[in-house]
Subunit: 385 residues, 2 copies
């Protein structure tokens, strides 16, 4: 274990954020050592990553403690097999990058916080499902959760050096996804293939679909609420198709600060991992003002994109509602990607599940996980009206 | 003199920035007390201001120590007549707002710094003429100079909380003025009346003309150099016709921070006077993202706007060159406003004067003032080629 090197464990190392975190690890091999790699199902890529980075710990969800499962190549190097939770709380880890998606990150994130780790969080459902509990635990442990989402990184950057009581509102930008200009009546026919083509960001399938119907932005409102401790009515969304302004903060004097860059997730990743230190990285693109460019902004159409409204309402109702939102959405996106339901059915499925839910206020982890399980069961049974 | 009230003296109180500073004084009468008012020639407005604010000190340049000059209304209230320099260094003053234009602010600003005052600086020529000396004196006295220019205020806001060694470059925005889309061959015929119509900002005549030919932006490069201690090659200019993004900072990681607001000088004024505290001010406009809006950026055309290049070159050569630039420009703008020379002659006059100048390196105040006097004399004799 190299002297002053920060030791990083990545949960979800084979996903888009995970792979880009490894790129940062390569670029700054003088600062970081990858000591843990965890993945869900992609054993082949995980094995390659293990070969390159020689981590001490490896976790493969589908292998359930046996890295020598059939999916694990027999010539892969040996690293100690652990669960994601064990990896997140291992004493030889300094930073845990939670780059999983959906529900998968919740329990390992709590484990990392309880073990006093610095958490770089890309898995927004962790805070959507259990924000109150996760933030309270982080406060209790004196642990900071640094955001990897480009929007929350932007807000975090804009808040740097500012007094929290001088903040008026947060303004999350949204690209608007590939269907921003799509007519409402044409949206029912959207296919998974069309929805997976995001205009400006390269992301995993779940977050790409969530971006296409603005559910992602709705979840980001909830995430921002917990990360920055602002009430929901002081968190706005504005459509910005170019994805150059990653988000903004308005202060009580009317001044607005914005963070900009060419879209590249490696910037918020390295900023989160370095805990707000700015590292010179020649691989990252520079904003080019040497050619004419136009940045456009418009209010979101919540009639066409009901998920944005639904997420906000679930957050306002609180308790287990946001966990149900997440669970129902995860099932719905899977069904949509499998061509089993239509694009607009995602919102309908989530709304119906929320409507049927009997929420628990101030839930425990067990109650959140129970609401999640209930919602998945309900969602799986859902049929188009 | 009210208990905890900050005592403000305004040099140039009858100008555009001066009047808007008084609006801030009215809005925050619980925080500020206007104890000094100084003007150049507008005795009538100055008398009105004295009646309203009841300052202890008043200075009228044209009256040369006699506020009871013919221009001073006989029914105006009495305040102690002083020179601008005396007002700037008076022990009963906490903040000196230097809202004069051209050369007028230099000596009073130095007096304020030497007396340990907080200086809110709107008069950019002070730093263009004598930046090295002024900043050295401020450092010696432990005095901070807070910028009132919207561009420098934006940069100052973007730098807040950031580490200076993580700054890659400053990006000053420029509206481009009313002639951004004017054909080069049509520029010779521009009249003072056309040039005084600035598309987005309401300003005094000198700075409005300087904005029309981008001399103002050139001077701002020099001002930024001194205020923020960055080399000239790390200060760029980008045209942004909407004047919403007031300037930006790029960091070593490629991240860019920008400060935005609807154009209103009261925001940077109150931020400068409150020394970077953000005061809730319901009179200030809020950024409206509830309607579609477009922010555009393009590189400046230094062929069409040679003043931008000339100012940068004068700064690179250093010594007394920037003082000569200021003096020649001040004379040239007066001649243009008096219809004695054409719009394009402003740049020619300044360039010819710079060409003829034999500069002094690391000049003293006396040498700067001598260069200024020399340049004015030369400029007055200049005739169109």
């Amino acid at each position: 274990m190299g002297g002053g090197l920060k030791r990083i464990a990545i949960l979800g190392s084979t996903g888009s954020i995970g792979q880009q975190t490894l790129e940062i690890g390569r670029t700054f091999s003088d600062r970081y050592r990858i000591v843990g790699l965890g993945a869900g199902k992609n054993a082949t890529l995980l094995a390659e990553q293990v070969t390159e980075f020689q981590p001490r710990f490896v976790s493969l969800e589908s292998a359930t403690h046996e890295t020598q499962s059939p999916a694990w190549p027999s010539d892969a190097p040996s690293a100690q097999p652990v669960t994601a939770e064990e990896m997140a709380s291992c004493p030889d880890v300094d930073v845990v990058v939670v780059a999983t998606s959906g529900k998968a990150g919740l329990v390992p994130t709590l484990a990392a916080i309880r073990a006093g780790k610095h958490v770089a969080l890309a898995n927004k459902e962790v805070l959507v499902m259990a924000g109150a509990m996760v933030m309270a635990e982080a406060e209790r442990q004196g642990v900071e959760i640094t955001p990897v989402d480009s929007e929350h990184s932007a807000i975090w950057q804009c808040l740097r050096g500012e007094s929290r009581d001088e903040v008026a509102r947060l303004i999350l930008t949204a690209s608007g996804g590939p269907f921003l200009r799509c007519k409402e009546k044409e949206m029912a026919g959207i296919t998974p293939e069309q929805a997976l083509r995001h205009p400006t960001w390269k992301m995993g399938p779940k977050v790409t679909i969530d971006s296409a119907n603005l559910m992602n932005k709705g979840m980001e409102i909830i995430e921002a609420r917990w990360l920055f401790g602002l009430p929901l009515h002081r968190i706005d969304v504005v459509i910005h198709p170019e994805s150059i302004v990653h988000s903004m903060v308005e202060f009580v004097d009317g001044s607005v600060k914005a963070q900009l860059s060419e879209p590249d997730m490696r910037l918020p990743i390295q900023y989160a991992v370095a805990h707000s230190q700015r590292l010179a990285n020649p691989d990252l693109p520079r904003m080019d003002f040497g050619r004419p460019r136009s940045l456009n902004f418009e209010p979101p159409d919540t009639g066409k994109f009901p998920c944005l409204r639904m997420a906000r309402e679930a957050a306002e109702q609180g308790g287990t509602y946001p966990a149900v939102l997440c669970a129902a959405d995860e099932v719905a996106v899977d069904l949509f990607l499998a061509h089993k339901i239509g694009f607009l059915d995602i919102a309908r499925l989530v709304e119906d599940t929320l409507d049927r839910h009997r929420a628990v206020a101030q839930p425990t982890l067990e109650q959140i996980l129970a609401a999640d399980a209930w919602a998945r069961e309900q969602a799986a049974k859902w049929r188009p009206r």
